[in-house]
Amino acid sequence: MKTQGFVRDFARRSVQRPWRLAAEASALLIAAVVAFPLYWMALSAFKPAGEIESTEPRPWTLDPTLDSFRRVFGQQEFGRYFLNSLIVAVTVVAVSALIAFLAATAVTRFRFRFRTTLLIMFLIAQMVPVEALTIPLFFQMRDFGQLNTLGALILPHIAFSLPFAIWMLRGFVKAVPEALEEAAYIDGASRTRFLWQILFPLVFPGLVATSVFSFISAWNDFLFAKSFIISDTSQSTLPMALLVFYKPDDPDWGGVMAASTVMTIPVLIFFVLVQRRLVSGLGGAVKD
């Protein structure tokens, strides 16, 4: 890529050699600091119980053990919680990506009355403090019989991730040249066909970038799981499972760290998969 190459040249030419080396050294140092909590999490998950509770913490362990993981997976329903979290996150990502794609197409490729009003409404909707809506949503979910079901976690998260997703995808849909669209129609494609076979693949990097945000918000959800899943714990999600081990007075650190590690891995995998598209995606989203 030309831009990239130039930025690199720009970096090379503009910075004197010792300065560049200092910059690179500090980048590596900062990377180590930023990664340290994750390292400590994984390390503590493998430490034997006595060693975690040692007042002389060591940054390595001589006899790694799977005890903590056994305890976590031995806890009733941990697998169930994991599956629930996956179901919630994947459903939220897939459904909100589809709905947001359609909506973003509507507000970018069409001119219609109240288009700008709608855009402003989506912007305002982004600002709504989700947590403040826990109270009315609690009653709403109760009235629709959704308390203690995964629906109570899925539905609100779809609604909350939509405004941001639409707002972000707008840039991607806008970037697709209109000439392409005209060419498609001249070649006899129907509107539906253009939408799904041409526009959708072109906007896909943007969908990936937006899905990161909806995935995180759904996977991280703590408040709704805490408030809406009150009696049927088999419908709960990972954050709740983690808190089984975290008792403020006497935390089982090994269990907490093992559960944390298990909970972080799927997101890490997801991030590594989308990493490249995420960077270019954010660049595309903010360029317009």
Partner: protein
């Protein structure tokens, strides 16, 4: 991308812009797009095209404003945009707009355990709940703490994120990849997980941080300010990556020719930053600032987990946790809702400032 004034978009979309000329949309929208004032207003405007059986062809008639000429073919939509928007509007309307209305409603009612279980009817309180809330010294203290805490989080996140984004452009591939991966790891860490890990890192007995800093068994969560500082560190750790990656992507998206031309013209590094990059990055900076404000103002999980539900004697409460405690721990749903409304209004004010910024930049929505 296109700043070319499209026929339909050039005038601000006031209701009286050109009512009779755009028939299609609103009329046919009614089945799909519920609850929109659009439908009602549109009904009287168009010359009864709503009944026409061939909507697409009608709408596609050339020569109309907003539909003909060099507009994209997809744009000749008639009812289509509303069809595309319908699922989004239904979901947002049902699960976001309606709850906001309910939140406002409950904040004006007497709504405690008795009303929830149906034992007593909910009675209208007017501004009674707000009077109770505003008369409570703790509320003002929590409000102040929330604003200061969120402000500190935003400033630190933006500072760290932007500085590291610039650093990323100055280093070669290996350190860049290392920093990028570390940041993605922090970003990917779920809030609950991050909170417990940071607690372990700063644990007075078992944590490595006190050993490294030689602080003995100093407890970070005991004092009000050190507890807030600890949460702040965790929040910055998990939210700077968004700023860093976005700003870095933005810098990379600046066309090479622009930078080349500037340096050929003999501009200094500082000058290039100030006069070329900064203005081009401004929209991005506005976006990340606004997102940070929204996220940091609503921090819940970190405070709740790290300070054990708001700290000793509630010293680390922020509005969100305060509202949760009021509503779910002491069943004062109306007070909790009133707090929610206050938060909503504050964020709404931020949104309006943001909208003004966008408008002033002359950006097309």
């Amino acid at each position: 991308m296109t700043n070319r004034p499209l026929p339909g978009s050039a005038p601000p979309p006031g209701p009286s812009a050109e009512p009779p000329s755009r028939e299609g949309g609103p009329d046919r929208a009614r089945p799909g797009a519920t609850a929109l004032p659009a439908a009602r207003r549109g009904a009287g405007s168009g010359p009864a095209k709503g009944a026409s059986p061939a909507p697409v062809r009608t709408a596609a008639r050339p020569g109309r404003r907003g539909g003909g000429g060099r507009k994209s073919p997809l744009a000749r939509g008639g009812w289509t945009p509303w069809l595309y928007l319908a699922p989004a509007l239904v979901v947002i309307g049902g699960l976001l707009v309606y709850p906001v209305y309910q939140l406002g409603l409950i904040s004006f009612l007497e709504y405690t355990q008795a009303q929830v279980s149906g034992g007593e009817p909910a009675t209208f309180q007017g501004f009674g709940n707000y009077a109770t809330l505003f008369g409570d010294a703790q509320f003002w203290q929590v409000l102040l703490a929330t604003v200061l805490f969120a402000g500190a989080c935003v400033v630190s996140t933006l500072g760290v994120g932007c500085a590291l984004a610039v650093l990323l452009t100055r280093v070669r591939a290996v350190p860049r990849l290392a920093l990028m991966l570390a940041a993605l790891g922090a970003w990917a860490t779920p809030a609950v997980t991050g909170s417990t890990v940071w607690l372990l890192l700063f644990d007075p007995d078992f944590g490595p941080v006190n050993r490294i800093l030689g602080l003995g068994d100093h407890s970070w969560t005991y004092g009000r300010y050190s507890a807030f500082a600890l949460v702040l560190l965790e929040v910055v750790w998990c939210s700077f990556p968004f700023v860093m990656v976005t700003v870095y992507a933005g810098i990379r998206a600046v066309p090479a020719e622009v930078l080349e031309a500037a340096s050929l013209d003999g501009a200094s590094q500082w000058r290039i930053w100030r006069s070329v990059l900064a203005p081009m990055l401004r929209p991005i900076l506005v976006v990340v600032t606004i997102q940070s404000v929204i996220w940091d103002f609503k921090v819940f999980t970190q405070i709740y987990v790290m300070t054990g539900g708001g700290g000793i004697a509630g010293q680390n409460l922020v509005l969100n946790v305060y509202a949760y405690q009021k509503a779910f721990a002491s069943s004062q749903y109306s007070l909790g809702s009133a707090i929610g409304v206050v938060m909503l209004l504050i964020l709404l004010a931020v949104t309006l400032v943001y909208l003004r910024l966008i408008r002033r930049q002359g950006e097309e929505l």
